[in-house]
Amino acid sequence: MKTLALAFALLSTATALAQSPSYRVPRTPDGQPDIQGFWTNSTYTPLERPKGVTKEFYTAAEAEALIKKAAQGESAQTTPGTPADVHYDFSQFGLDRSQSTFVRSLRTSLIVDPPDGKIPPLTEEGKRRLAAREAEQKKLGGRWDSAESNQLDDRCLIMVGAGPPMMDAAYNANYHIVQTAGYVMILTEMIHDARIIPLDGRAAPDQKVRQWMGVSRGRWDGDTLVVETTNFNAKNPFNGSDENLKVIERFRRVADDAIEYRFTIDDPTMWVRTWTAESALKKTVGPIFEHACHEGNFGLYNTLVGARLEEQRAAEEAARKGAK
């Protein structure tokens, strides 16, 4: 839960991000384009274009209406007496996006390529792998049968925001970027995941090294930071990706308070073609507080205890009925 105050003002109403020709990116002391600071990618824009929408951009009025509707949907979670309300009171603790800084865009989807705004079709191999993975997951039983069968984020292993690619984490979608000679570091607030990206042109490590967040290597292409990430362990698939996933991210500061963020997903065993999305990092206020997820993970424990208790009660009930 977020305890530090965030900015409540809705900052920008810009449409798609575009660098003003007069904008000069500041430099770090060692001459890198400066992208340091506290940023968020919180947004109401979906990754894929909603069904029924055929255009790439909404009008400003359409976009505002959709944001309003989505924000109302979020606060509906807090209807007193619902489980969602007991779990997280969205309106009180600033967990809904509209209370904090968020990225506004007229885009109907983050995906810009393919032009239909959808993730491309799976390859035959991709379909086979996905089915195998689902079968594997089924073997673990129901979600609450064990800790291992639960979701990665409920287990405090990794959250969606860390990526790569970095995606809106629904709440606490905050990042801290720090640069030093030869390195860019991106700290994800959620589960304090820090990605340390060397810029010295070194090769990716041996294929035997596999990590949840892969291994990232960066370089500057003009004012754009290009980060390639490989060596994923495929335990945290991005929309179904596998261990052959390569993520190419491009960070370009387009204003004092905005970084254009594009990423390309290249995973030929899963998808028939590469695909690309565009989002933005919006400046937000710091500092970022410690997100000690696992250390306070009473939720997982209590959920499992609750599930075992319910099973016990059901068994007792069944025994009573059988006795009659």
């Binding site: 294929q207 035997k208 090294v209």
Partner: protein
């Protein structure tokens, strides 16, 4: 005497290895410290590069010489304290060139590590494993003998700089003869038994093992360490590992006792304990 013929055989193998080593294709080196500018070490009183000190590797080679990802503890109760940290590997070219049957055995070793790893049983570590175990070792240098005194299991290696002989018999730590090549201490070790491993991942060798190590000062407090490993019964060609070693600079650094036999007695002999007589 079988021992004699063994020595003769390994000597012949070594000569053959010398040739094939020269012809082996150069494999790309893994990421390691950029070649340090030629460094001249301080000298001992007898004029040799001074390697005296307490040294330790700072890597995960003892878990796995090859590159590897982090992995959980093989024993649940150890939680994170027994977990395996990931590492980029120390093998030049990335992969150990096993012969097919040997690779099979390596995998069996790895799968049965808790039963088979000599380290689990507090057995002597062998060479080069002693050098990169997560324990310090002290180099104590005299003109005739250079001692390598390891904290783990109190393992000891005498490097003979003079009075060099063949190994009188096979042993865990082998028989080491050394020489100086400029700034580098070159240690040639043979006469191994086939019982020690290279790491906790089941990488192993036969009694035909021949190790040539190079200790080169690279700064006041670091050494470059290289070991070329040759064993024609196990590997298709000689291969090399390399890593820096770091000096313990804290003033109270010393090799402590790690008399681990006592720690493993229950594991090894506990099943032979007299059971309380039943009533």
């Amino acid at each position: 005497m079988p021992n004699r013929s063994l020595i003769a055989t390994s000597a012949a193998l070594l000569m053959a290895a010398g040739v094939s080593m020269a012809q082996a294709p150069q494999t790309p080196a893994p990421a390691r410290p950029a070649a340090a500018p030629a460094y001249r070490a301080p000298r001992t009183a007898d004029g040799k590069p001074n390697l005296n000190g307490i040294w330790q590797a700072m890597n995960t080679a003892n878990w796995d010489l090859e590159a590897h990802s982090a992995a959980p503890s093989p024993i649940k109760e150890f939680g994170t304290t027994g977990a395996i940290p990931g590492g980029s590997g120390v093998v030049d070219g990335g992969t150990i060139p096993y012969l097919p049957d040997a690779l099979k055995k390596k995998k069996e070793n790895q799968a049965n590590r808790l039963k088979l790893d000599p380290e689990v049983k507090c057995y002597l570590p062998g060479v080069p494993r002693a050098v990169y175990m997560p324990y310090p070792f002290q180099i104590l240098q005299s003109t005739k003998h250079i001692m390598m005194l390891h904290e783990y299991a109190g393992a000891v290696r005498t490097v003979y700089m003079t009075d060099q002989t063949e190994a009188p018999a096979d042993s865990w730590m082998g028989w080491s003869n050394g020489k100086w090549e400029g700034e580098t201490l070159v240690v040639d070790t043979k006469g191994f038994n086939d019982l020690s491993w290279f790491d906790r991942s089941g990488n192993f060798h036969s009694d035909a093992l021949h190790v040539v190590e190079r200790f080169t000062p690279r700064s006041a407090d670091t050494l470059n360490y290289e070991a070329t490993i040759e064993d024609s019964k196990t590997f298709s060609r000689p291969w090399k590992i390399s890593m820096p070693l770091y000096r313990h600079v804290e003033p109270n650094a010393q090799i402590m006792e790690f008399r681990c036999v006592e720690f493993v007695e229950d594991l090894l002999y506990g099943h032979l304990r007299k059971q309380p007589t039943s009533k």
